[in-house]
């Protein structure tokens, strides 16, 4: 995975680009950007305590179909518009999977099973190693700051044109 800061910045860019006013959706996009990792990272406990091998099933939370079903199942927990909750969590999660797809893996057969259960082929663009995530983090930060500046400029222009 790229580091969580990269996933977070992708989420923040999405928030700036999507003109939704519904309360709570911003944090759901951000939550979605980490959703595939939250359960998978529970396996890190194994660094200190041996875990049963059956728990390796948690790696399934990087499969689009399983994640989509999971989002449909947890969406009712949020007392808000069901469709918006699914859309926000789904967008965040999709951004996570897309950024994970860019990663290079040591095992040539590694990657994301995009078409599970129809195909077990794992996909990966292999553009950079996980520790090189700064290669997308820096351009993303520039995009994020640029978006904020452009939005501020447009807002100020609108205020001035009203005064004129």
């Amino acid at each position: 995975m790229p580091d969580w800061l990269t996933h977070l910045i992708i989420g923040l860019v999405l928030i700036e680009l999507i003109p939704l006013k519904k309360k709570g959706w911003k944090s759901l996009i951000l939550l979605g950007t980490l959703l595939p990792d939250i359960l998978t990272k529970l396996l890190l406990v194994e660094k200190w305590i041996p875990l049963p091998e059956s728990l390796s099933v948690l790696t399934a939370f990087h499969i689009p179909l399983i994640l989509a079903l999971f989002i449909f199942l947890i969406a009712p927990l949020f007392k808000s518009n069901y469709r918006i909750v699914i859309l926000a969590l789904g967008l965040g999660t999709a951004s996570h999977l897309l950024s994970d797809l860019m990663l290079h893996h040591l095992d040539p057969a590694s990657g994301i099973m995009l078409f599970y259960p129809f195909s077990f082929v794992r996909f990966s663009f292999g553009w950079f190693w996980p520790e090189q995530s700064y290669l997308i983090l820096i351009p993303l930060l520039m995009v994020y700051l640029g978006t904020i500046l452009v939005k501020k400029f447009v807002k100020e222009e609108a205020v001035w044109s009203k005064i004129d």
Binding site: T59, I63, P130
Partner: protein, 160 residues
């Protein structure tokens, strides 16, 4: 549609999603178990045949072999210290010398036997600990942002 009927309908749809979700997890577990546990054979330099599972194992570098540093090193994977041998004839990444990772972990891809890993390739995740540190704070930020917009109640999450 009456309120009661609507509620029953909602539960029915929920179970329609829950069943494939559980089934997929079971299926993935079985697939993972079968596919990733296929024993494969490989040959050592002396020509002898060995068997192991092809795996990527990640962990901390735990020092070179004292007897012959050129043949491999120790990897601390979770609580186990595993010897990693460079598999000659296959191994191409570091033919003569291996440099340990800087502030990070090492991943070894190769044949895992009960006692050791015979490496096909190795990658150093340099500065990975720095990324873990940054990720921790990114996670905290998201948690704080989330609870600024949502609060936990007995019925689930409601807008704060």
């Amino acid at each position: 549609m009456s309120k009661n009927k609507k509620s029953v309908w909602k539960y029915f749809i929920y179970f329609l999603i829950l069943i494939p979700f559980i089934f997929s997890l079971f299926h993935y577990g079985l697939y993972f178990g079968d596919k990733e546990k296929t024993l494969e054979h490989f040959y050592l330099k002396d020509g002898s045949e060995e068997f192991g599972y092809k795996r990527t194992v990640m962990g901390a570098y735990a020092g070179e072999f004292e007897s012959d540093p050129k043949t491999g090193f120790y990897l601390l994977h979770n609580t186990k210290k595993i010897p990693v041998f460079y598999l000659e004839n296959y191994f191409v990444d570091y033919p003569n010398s291996y440099t340990p990772p800087k502030y990070g972990e090492v991943a070894v891809y190769g044949y895992k036997t009960n006692e050791a890993i015979y490496a096909l390739s190795i990658h150093n995740y340099n500065y990975n600990y720095v990324l873990y540190f940054i990720s921790f704070f990114a996670g905290l930020f998201i948690l704080a942002f989330f609870f600024r917009e949502w609060k936990i109640t007995w019925r689930g999450f409601e807008n704060a």
